[in-house]
Amino acid sequence: MDFQLSDDQRALRAGMRELLTGRFGRDRMRAALDAGVAVDRGMWGELGAAGFFALRLAEADGGVGLGLPESVLLFEEAGRVLLPGPLAATHLAAGAVGAVKGAADGGAVVAVLDEGRPVAHLEAADALIALGPVRPGGVARVLEGDVLRELVRTARPVRSLDPLTPLHRVTAGVEDGVPLPGATPLRLEGALLAAAEQLGSAARTTEMAVQHAREREQFGSPIGAFQAVKHLCAQMLVRAEVARTAVYAAAVTADPAEIAGAKLLADEAAVHNARDCLQVHGGMGFTWEADVHLHLKRAWLRAGEWLRAAEAEEALAADLCRVHACDAGDL
């Protein structure tokens, strides 16, 4: 056992952080926000060139040939900087060989259709993955071309809570489209990638709160010297670190119950930390200019995607019913 990042993993993460800092720093993020442009095709291509989407595609198929743990590290970085766009869906589409042309190199934008939920980034999408039902074995499908165009034509825009995640209501069902080859557990992998983004957001809001608590002075000292603020920050770190090990372990094992747990805890960490970050920032956190609301809104949205709390808890409850769950050697 060596449940720590390898040197290669550290290097991968550092590289992605560098790319995102240069390509999607705070100014760029704010510019995208003001312009109302969530998916920047140029950036999408750069992400593709950096292997963001093809990371898990076999090298023989032109991919990077890495695994879920590496994907999770990249998505954590994306979550830190509030990188918009249907990252997980495009990544998943790139992994399923040939499922969507151009997904692997960032030439295509692939969004998700989850029945009953609004579709994010529909107008930017070159393809849609329609998820099967939550139960295992559900078949996912790909919607492209005319099917997609008809779906876009009849879609109704939704005024989105998250200004960098445009939403549409669509009427199509998941029976349309071409079935994806294999029984890829897309929903679970999507849930894990979303959990990684939540983790990145939770870690980032912790840093933002700590930085503010160090700098902001009230009553003659930095507010971080007051226990009330100190303990808010400590609990933020605890949430982020517990979520981190849950997400990393789920990436290593790819166990469905472990993924459900990772999504549940990462959702909680992202939402709760964004709220506490807002509380630490006080009035300034309530302004549009502060980034904290963008983390909270994105966290709320992502908590509703792929695998929601009620579904995760049910899956985790069912997991307890496996005979001798604790003695099966998978602890």
Binding site: M1, S6, V210, A225, K230, C233, T245, V252, T253, E258
Partner: protein
């Protein structure tokens, strides 16, 4: 990131399982909770068995008589013994996990030779005399005084929360040797014989009704100066080595046990026909996520310690904050599962619910732990 055993670890685990399967069925019945001599005999006999096959002092350095095992092997040992239902470290706890490692790290060659082998063999039992009624969270404000008298210290004061005091041979004792120095600078670490004149032990009853702890009254107890480990007035630093050990793998067995409890709760809910209540079901599901994550956090902390050469990181405080809360939530859920039987002390889990209340207090309250996390990990300013 790798969660699988290495070949060496797999081999270690397999041999341990084999040995446990062979010896556990032959163990005598566990003594009752208030049978202190019986508990000492049971716990030390188990320690002797471990010693004889080479599992004693697994995580101790080789030159202290230990096996120099990796933190991961130690983790595997704790995990497997818990899963097999082997005896706990019990009365050997302080010797193996506090006093012993302290002596190994800070003692002279003579002190190591005198005190360490009996701990490993289960021949001698240690208890801990750190806490005091007035000190509490502010441990370093302890008042028990040691006055030099020739080649002895004369020790007077009061200690509290001492486990196994009734049956211990030795006590690792923190005393104030310089009342004029700043509080952290005037403390010394002494090994005190429990049968020394002037030592009085009084059982302390907890809210669970048990006498797991004791108060210890010290009235001019003479302790040889040669029984001091480390320099005079350097006892605080000496002790911190010990305390960081406590936060390393101290809860491994408990997390495994909590996961077993959770499965048992789910089974009980199904048995009682309440599995169709989604409130109960989702509560258990959430706790499953919680304890799975705590297990992974344990592995993460152990792997980190292994990389850093055995030094436990600050992850211990993060773990303890979350675990102490999760454990209380687990037994609240157990009370929900028990329903009308939740007030029956003879039902499993009811007493555990009571003892779980100490987890946010003992070994650093959650308030103190949050200060540690905020100041030492996050770098927030001290004070206020």
């Amino acid at each position: 990131m790798d969660l699988a055993d290495t070949d060496e670890e797999r081999e270690f685990r397999a041999r341990l399982r084999e040995w446990l399967a062979a010896v556990l069925p032959g163990l005598p019945a566990k003594p009752g909770p208030d049978d202190w001599p019986g508990r000492r005999a049971y716990d030390t006999a188990w320690q002797r068995m471990l010693y004889d096959v080479g599992y004693a002092g697994l995580h101790w350095p080789v030159d202290a008589g230990g096996r120099g095992a990796t933190p991961t092997q130690h983790l595997i040992f704790l995990e497997e013994t818990e899963r097999a239902g082997a005896p706990y470290v019990g009365a050997n706890f302080v010797g193996l996990l506090h006093a012993g490692p302290t002596i190994a790290a800070e003692g002279t060659a003579g002190q190591r030779a005198r005190w360490l082998p009996p701990v490993l063999r289960g021949d001698e039992i240690w208890c801990q005399g750190f806490s005091e009624p007035e000190a509490g969270s502010d441990l370093a404000s302890l008042r028990t005084r040691a006055v030099r008298d020739g080649d002895h210290y004369v020790v007077t004061g009061q200690k509290i929360w001492t486990s196994h005091a009734e049956v211990a041979d030795w006590c690792e004792l923190l005393v104030r040797t310089d009342p004029a120095a700043p509080k952290h600078r005037g403390i010394s670490w002494l090994a005190m014989r429990m049968d020394a004149p002037g030592v009085t032990v009084r059982p302390l009853r907890t809210l669970a009704g048990s006498t797991e702890f004791a108060e210890m009254f010290l009235d001019e107890v003479r302790v040889p100066v040669s029984h001091r480990v480390g320099a005079e007035n350097d006892g605080w630093r000496v002790t911190m080595v010990t305390l960081s050990f406590e936060r390393g793998t101290a809860f491994v067995g408990e997390v495994v046990a909590c996961r077993r409890t959770l499965s048992a709760l789910a089974a009980e809910v199904r048995r009682s026909g309440r599995w169709d209540d989604p409130v109960l079901r989702r509560t258990l599901g959430r706790l499953n996520a919680e304890f799975r994550a705590l297990w992974r956090l344990t592995q993460w902390n152990v792997a980190e310690a292994q990389r850093s050469g055995g030094v436990p990181g600050t992850g211990g405080s993060v773990f303890k904050l979350r675990y102490s809360q999760a454990r209380q939530e687990l037994y609240d859920a157990a009370a929900e599962v028990l329903g009308a039987d939740g007030a029956d002390l003879d039902r499993e889990w009811v007493l555990d619910r009571l003892t779980s209340l100490s987890y946010t207090i003992a070994a650093g309250t959650s308030q103190i732990q949050q200060n540690i996390v905020a100041e030492r990990i996050l770098g927030l300013p001290k004070g206020r």
